[in-house]
Symmetry: C2
Subunit: 123 residues, 2 copies
């Protein structure tokens, strides 16, 4: 099992990369056969190609992320975080609760993001 420190580092790196990073660097945090469900209830994505497609879709948006709360329980942390999308005159904020699982190399094996359209704030 990866150390809590390794998991915490990966979560923080994930949020940094979602804000400012390249899609391929995000994908590299995932194990090859990892799954992604974002938001919860949407079709499950599996594998690097499908995961890359997901992140590439919003790579060019100006955005920021902030970690609010994290519960690093063994290899399966849950964390509340904020994603702010800045489209010039409108800012959109989503605050998902995400749950990740990890393999022994601290690669993400699954990511599930709990949020729904009613959690999106535009201002």
């Amino acid at each position: 099992m990866p150390s809590p420190e390794a998991i915490s580092q990966t979560v923080n790196r994930y949020l940094d990369l979602v804000a400012k990073g390249a899609t391929d660097d995000i994908v590299a945090l995932y194990a090859p056969d990892a799954t992604l469900e974002d938001p919860i209830g949407s079709d499950l994505r599996r594998g690097h190609d499908s995961i890359r497609e997901f992140y590439a879709g919003f790579q060019d948006l100006k955005k920021d992320t902030e970690l609010a709360e994290i519960r690093p329980a063994g290899a399966e942390p849950a964390f509340l975080w904020h994603l702010t999308l800045d489209a010039g005159d409108t800012r959109t904020r989503i605050s998902p609760i995400s749950v990740m699982t990890f393999d022994e190399d601290a690669k993400i094996t699954s990511m599930r993001a709990f949020w729904s359209p009613s959690d999106v704030k535009v201002g």
Copy 2:
């Protein structure tokens, strides 16, 4: 699938009962073959008897609960909440992120609480 309102009601009733309710009333929110993992990484409990044993262990403590954030995504909400245990001169606060799943009758089919000893604050 139960309505978001029914799920939200059950989550709120769950927190009310954890604070002030009877163990049997909490257990009644669960489906008969439901599972409970609290905290994450502990042995999985399955079924009403095992679930009752869990809640009975702290029924007599003076305590309060507060819902901080909830992401009601379909039949699987994630929520951050606060549990305050009042032992007279010491107050202990735990703020888990919990994830529940529900059946068609809005009974809880699984509950997983993400927290670890390092999240417990004594003051």
